[in-house]
């Protein structure tokens, strides 16, 4: 009797996912893998359970298992593609064979408005490469790189040139940094390099870090000119996919926030150079850019807060957070007025659409922050995220920054330089008094990110670096109403008969940020989960194969 009661109690404690035991599901999913692989994957697949502040530990930012087919790209993609991709007025030269430069040419949807800088430079529609040939692999490519930088300067006269190393460059030992220093001296413009060879680290994440380091070393703080304007802020980790940054800029304009720089959507080199003059850093994509925020805090005394402009509620919350930071009633008023002005349209759209989307189930496997941020929008539509994960995040993006001190630095991370940063003698300026800082910190406002898992339901399956097999298994098992990932996953998901929303490129839609973006997204999801096409999979004769006798042949 006592045993039965205990069993019952234990049964009660078990979390469920759609009436099933997710731990068992996980076991079943892993059973196809070779033993060692299953053991490794098991640590990156976690059934969520939120107990107070605690969530289960998830293995992440570790090597991809060869042969399993996943989502991840490389270090170069994270550096040149993601962080530096949207820099319109830097001539970004890929040093390597032609492929890497070619594939990262206009394939991320970074919109930009070059009319906002006086010279109007915009090199984003261009692809620059040294197109290394076998003779350079054998004899070295430094000479060609130098010549390429010279030619880029002669033709385009940019204010800065950046060089990105690809895999073979590291192997043959080309010293891109010495070449850059020489050319910087010779040309009198800023020339700097990124050792972002594709094999470094375990994913794009290493490339983000390297991009942060070099931009911090070579660009930020090189122009001390201070902009006019109140409430000077930087927006970090916003890449202006589908015009998201434009929508956020609109909101900032309306409440009178002065955007010194954005890293790096709709950005310009000159704005990077004076980013250190801002009074607050706001982080959108925590994974790709938190390094710069931390280094700027140490060196220049700029505090940072985590913001999220994906989701109308999240946008309102983030705006209030900013106003709270500045502790200025005027700004608070403006923020409240803006929210009051924008929300009715959002609510109208949501109320109209939500009855049709309520209760539907989503899965999302994307990036290092979007799998978290987009849950906000699905929540607003009454939809549940039953499984989610990141492609290249670290534990802090899942479990929150409180676990940072527990994360062991492995060999792959150790290879990525950690800059030693000291307060700048001239430029360090505390933005808040110690008392103010203490108060804001106590409110969890500063330098805090709680991660994705604390906001997810118990029982949800959290999967890091998901494989093709696992994605197929999830889809077949749960038949979600919508699946979100990237282009490589898109059409396999749709062959299953499930609508698939790309959250890297937005399927060429957007913006989805801010209030207008939320409305766009509600409409998009409404369209997708109700598209008639999914009902046409069976032809009439497959639905009703019986033949009418009248017309049957003998």
């Amino acid at each position: 009797m006592a045993k039965a009661a205990k069993d019952q109690e234990m049964e009660k404690e078990k979390v469920k996912l759609e009436g099933m035991d997710p731990e068992k599901m996980k076991e079943e999913m892993l059973s196809k893998y070779p033993t060692k692989v299953a053991r490794k994957r098991a640590k990156g697949i976690v059934v969520n359970r939120v107990e107070g502040e605690k969530v289960p530990q998830i293995q992440s930012n570790v090597r991809t298992v060869p042969g399993l087919i996943g989502q991840r790209g490389c270090c170069y993609a994270g550096c040149k593609g993601v962080v530096l991709g949207p820099t319109r007025d830097i001539v970004n030269i890929t040093h390597g064979p032609i492929g890497c430069g070619f594939y990262s040419w206009l394939t991320r949807r970074n919109q930009t408005d070059a009319s906002t800088t006086p010279d109007g430079h915009n090199f984003m529609p261009y692809c620059f490469s040294t197109d290394m040939q076998d003779e350079e692999i054998i004899f070295g490519g430094e000479k060609k790189l130098k010549q390429a930088i010279q030619e880029a300067y002669d033709i385009f006269h940019p204010k800065a040139i950046a060089v990105f190393a690809t895999c073979p460059v590291g192997l043959i030992g080309d010293d891109i940094h010495t070449v850059c220093r020489e050319m910087k001296k010779k040309l009198g413009i800023n020339v700097f390099g990124f050792s972002c060879e594709g094999y470094k680290g375990v994913s794009q994440s290493a490339g983000h870090h390297i991009a942060n380091n070099e931009i911090f070393k070579h660009v930020i703080g090189t122009n001390d000119e201070v902009d006019e304007g109140e409430y000077k802020v930087n927006l970090l980790g916003e890449y202006n996919i589908g015009g998201d940054a434009f929508e956020i800029e609109r909101l900032f304009d309306k409440c009178g926030l002065h955007l010194v720089s954005t890293f790096s959507g709709n950005s310009s080199y000159d704005k990077f150079a004076k980013a250190h003059t801002a009074d607050l850093n706001m982080i959108m994509c925590h994974r790709s850019i938190n390094y710069v925020a931390e280094m700027m805090e140490t060196k220049y005394g700029i505090p940072w807060i985590k913001v999220n402009f994906i989701g109308a509620e999240a946008t309102a919350k983030s705006l209030r957070k900013i106003a709270r930071y500045f502790e200025d009633p005027k700004l608070m008023e403006r923020v409240e007025a803006l929210i009051a002005e924008e929300m009715p349209a959002v609510e109208k759209a949501r109320d109209e659409i939500r009855p049709r989307t309520e209760g539907k189930r989503a899965m999302m496997f994307v990036g290092g922050s979007r799998a978290h941020h987009y849950q906000e929008l699905f929540n607003e539509l009454g939809m549940t995220t039953i499984s989610a994960g990141y492609e290249f995040a670290h534990r802090d993006d899942y479990e929150g920054r409180k676990v940072l001190s527990e994360i062991k630095v492995d060999a792959d991370s150790r290879n990525i330089e950690e800059l030693k940063v000291e307060p700048d003698e001239k430029r360090y300026r505390p933005r808040k008094t110690p008392d103010q800082l203490e108060k804001l910190t106590a409110e969890n406002l500063l330098a805090d990110y709680e991660g994705m898992m604390p906001q997810m339901n118990d029982g949800a399956m959290v999967i890091d670096d998901i494989t093709q097999y696992e994605a197929d298994w999830l889809i077949e098992t749960f038949q979600p109403d919508i699946f979100c990932a990237g282009i490589k996953e898109k059409y396999a998901v749709q062959k299953h008969g499930i609508p698939m929303k790309q959250l890297h490129s937005y399927d060429y839609g957007g913006p989805y940020a801010g209030f207008t973006g939320a409305i766009n997204f509600y409409k998009e999801i409404d369209r997708m989960v109700h598209s008639k096409v999914w009902r046409y999979i069976k032809a009439p004769w497959q639905e009703h194969p019986e033949l009418a006798a009248t017309y049957a042949w003998d």
Partner: protein
């Protein structure tokens, strides 16, 4: 202006490529490998390579593109990728159960010098390759040639690994298509079928990268040349290889290995190239050309004659892959258009340049031809002397928009339109489609630009 920094004045560049008209070998190898039934292509390099190749192929076809990677880390780059590839082979066969794993190398693994056949042998000896399954490979260093070279190398790999010599040649003809669309491969087969010829087409991406929506995702779609057929290519009576740069290596290898004679002809794009294809097939197989083919030919000819006034003297700028450019150029010349510029990023060699010069020898104006060029140069040529039409992949749209020139998408990659996977541009039917596209582009412009007075129902 999108490309506002492109100056009209051309300066020689020795080191900087701007807006490439090619990409790297491995993607071509991946594409070719997808044309084997039940094949999982495998990229032996950093995971970025396969991610980029899969993304580009997926955007081009809007279809699943399955492939795996050795996922090199810094350690693998120092110590070699053997352990990664062995693990990958075991995982792929266990989890994804392919018939064939087609490994291609990358600049990384080539620079290290990994010996793929040796690693594959080790996998076999370790029992990691199940009975009746295969691991094949092609060496595809990204710093040599282009995506077309990679395609060529993987197709040759199919011959090297599978073709079996036979004393008794059967009445079958091998067809090796260049780096063309699945729809083109389908059309090549249809023409051979129409002529009553038994054939083995390899690689064959039809029904792989233009598959149906069925509500079921199939890791290995219906299409693709089977391993059994690849083995039988050595017993065929001859090979027709279409597009010298993409297919000659495989055709010659098959001749050397299994004594199967080959004819290397142009890609069958346009009237004369299709004539040559049909005639080569006819002679090799000893068959008569059926009336149905004559009928199709006549239809193409009919449209050329009906619409000749719109083609005549129009200057065309072409950028793309060398085999396509040669065939397209000949087609344009045959309908009295003027191929003014032809640029390929692929280092296509002197023979190609000579063939292009011969193809345009009778064109009354100067024709600029560049092997190993880029789209930046192509654009500068256009700025110096405009053209009436540009033909090229999706990246050409920036030039077309800036210069306000009618534009036909053709080649690889086409990331922003559909159709190329479903409708061929080879054969007489493909010729019709090309003409339709060219006429639509030219005549839409004519309609758009006409004043209200000049505007007519038929112009």
């Amino acid at each position: 202006m999108l490309l506002k920094h492109t100056p009209t004045e051309v300066h020689e560049r020795k080191a900087l490529t701007v807006n490439p008209a090619k990409t790297c070998q491995p993607i071509g190898a991946m594409y070719a490998a997808l044309g084997i039934h039940g094949c999982l292509p495998h990229s032996h390099g950093s995971q970025g390579c396969y991610a980029y190749h899969r993304s580009t192929l997926t955007r081009h076809y809007k279809e699943p593109v399955m492939a795996a990677t050795s996922a090199f880390t810094e350690g693998a780059s120092v110590f070699g990728g053997q352990a990664n590839l062995l693990q990958a082979i075991n995982n792929m066969f266990t989890v994804y159960d392919p018939e064939v794993i087609a490994v291609h190398t990358t600049c990384l693994s080539e620079t290290i010098g990994d010996d793929i056949p040796q690693i594959a042998r080790k996998a076999l000896n370790d029992g990691k390759i199940p009975e009746g399954k295969y691991v094949i490979h092609a060496s595809t260093p990204s710093y040599v040639g282009s995506h077309v070279t990679g395609y060529s190398n993987m197709v040759k790999g199919m011959v090297d690994y599978f073709s079996e010599t036979s004393e008794h040649k059967s009445k079958v003809i091998n067809l090796i298509p260049g780096f063309v669309e699945p729809a083109d491969m389908e059309e090549i087969k249809r023409i051979a079928d129409e002529m009553g010829i038994k054939h083995i087409l390899f690689p064959d991406t039809s029904k792989v990268l233009n598959g149906p929506m069925t509500g079921k995702f199939k890791m290995y779609p219906e299409g693709g040349v089977t391993v059994a057929d690849l083995k039988r290519t050595g017993a065929s009576m001859g090979t027709v290889a279409m597009g010298r740069i993409a297919t000659m290596a495989a055709a010659r290898a098959l001749d050397a290995k299994c004594k199967v004679g080959c004819e290397i002809i142009d890609l069958p794009i346009g009237l004369h190239a299709t004539d040559l294809f049909v005639d080569t097939l006819r002679q090799m197989a000893g068959v008569n050309v059926p009336d149905s083919i004559n009928f199709e030919r006549g239809q193409l000819l009919d449209v050329i004659s009906d619409m000749h006034q719109y083609f005549y003297g129009k200057r065309v700028g072409l950028v793309g892959d060398p085999d396509q450019l040669l065939a397209l150029t000949k087609f344009l010349v045959s309908i009295d258009m003027v191929p003014a510029y032809a640029v390929t990023g692929t280092p296509a060699g002197k023979k190609w340049v000579k063939a292009m010069e011969e193809a345009t020898a009778d064109v009354p104006r100067e024709v600029k031809i560049k092997s190993g060029g880029d789209m930046f140069l192509f654009h500068q040529w256009i700025k110096n002397q405009p053209v009436d039409l540009v033909i090229g992949n999706s990246y050409v749209k920036y030039i077309a928009k800036d210069e306000d020139i009618p534009y036909v998408r053709h080649g690889f990659p086409i990331l922003d339109r559909v159709g190329h996977g479903y409708f061929p541009t080879v054969g007489y039917k493909g010729g019709l489609r090309l003409l339709e596209k060219i006429l639509d582009a030219l005549m839409d412009r004519q309609d758009r630009d006409a004043s209200d007075i000049d505007f007519e129902l038929v112009m």
